[in-house]
């Protein structure tokens, strides 16, 4: 089946490894708030908005910033997208159906969790939950899709 919006199958392994590594780094940074300042990679970057906590807000100008966390987040997003949307070895309409089903399922799951957070989580913890929700959509999709594909690939032969 011809699909123009999927990445080649050969990208799947490498992007998967990168996704797990950057994901682990992000989870580690939740427990150690200094995680991303252990490596210094300061650069002048263009900031559309940098409200600052103790400093005055800055808009549309150059600021000094440690870009390690930006790099990790970008790598996590890019590798996650490629891993999620790369072709299977044998790409056909059944894998396309599993992909679509999983995408719908992941969207529902993510919003159910988000709504539970709206009800039960407050103040700063809620902001953190919102940040989580941005990435869990992709994570939910990846888990559910690969589980279904695994089960499908190991479905029994009736011969």
């Amino acid at each position: 089946m011809k699909t123009s919006y999927l990445f080649p199958h050969r990208f799947k392994l490498l992007s998967g490894i990168l996704f797990v590594i950057t994901g682990a780094l992000l989870i580690y940074s939740l427990f150690d708030s200094t995680a991303f300042s252990k490596v210094e990679l300061n650069m002048k970057v263009f900031a559309i908005a940098d409200p600052g906590i103790f400093e005055p807000a800055i808009y549309f100008s150059w600021v000094e910033n440690n870009i390690v966390d930006e790099i990790v987040l970008l790598l996590f997003s890019v590798s996650g997208l490629i891993f999620a949307f790369s072709k299977e070895k044998t790409e056909d309409e059944m894998t396309a159906k599993i992909r679509l089903d999983s995408l719908v399922w992941a969207t529902y799951a993510n919003y159910i969790v988000l709504m539970l957070c709206v009800i039960f989580v407050f103040s700063f913890a809620f902001l953190q939950a919102l940040m989580f929700a941005i990435f869990t959509h992709l994570v939910f999709f990846i888990l559910r899709y690969n589980w279904k594909i695994y089960k499908f690939n190991h479905s029994t032969d009736e011969e």
């Binding site: 044998t90 056909d92 309409e93 059944m94 690939n153 479905s155 029994t156 009736e158 011969e159």
Partner: protein, 66 residues
């Protein structure tokens, strides 16, 4: 939807894997179609029809509730 894919495949003396390769899908997809778990697209149905030299209606049939 009912289908006679398994019977047609037996008549043509093909394994699921061989049939899958001929029409460009995975073996598991053929398995899912035969088990009635997956309804193939028109394109796939026509490919199967051409392969077995039978009309689509002879391989696939609607059932009550479709």
């Amino acid at each position: 939807m009912k289908n006679r894919l398994k019977i047609e495949r037996a008549i043509a003396n093909l394994t699921q894997g061989e049939l899958a390769e001929k029409i460009g899908v995975s073996r598991q997809t053929i398995n899912a179609i035969e088990a009635g778990k997956f309804v193939p697209s028109t394109v796939l149905a026509l490919k199967l029809s051409r392969l077995f030299s039978k009309s689509v209606n002879e391989i696939f049939d609607l059932e009550e509730g479709d």
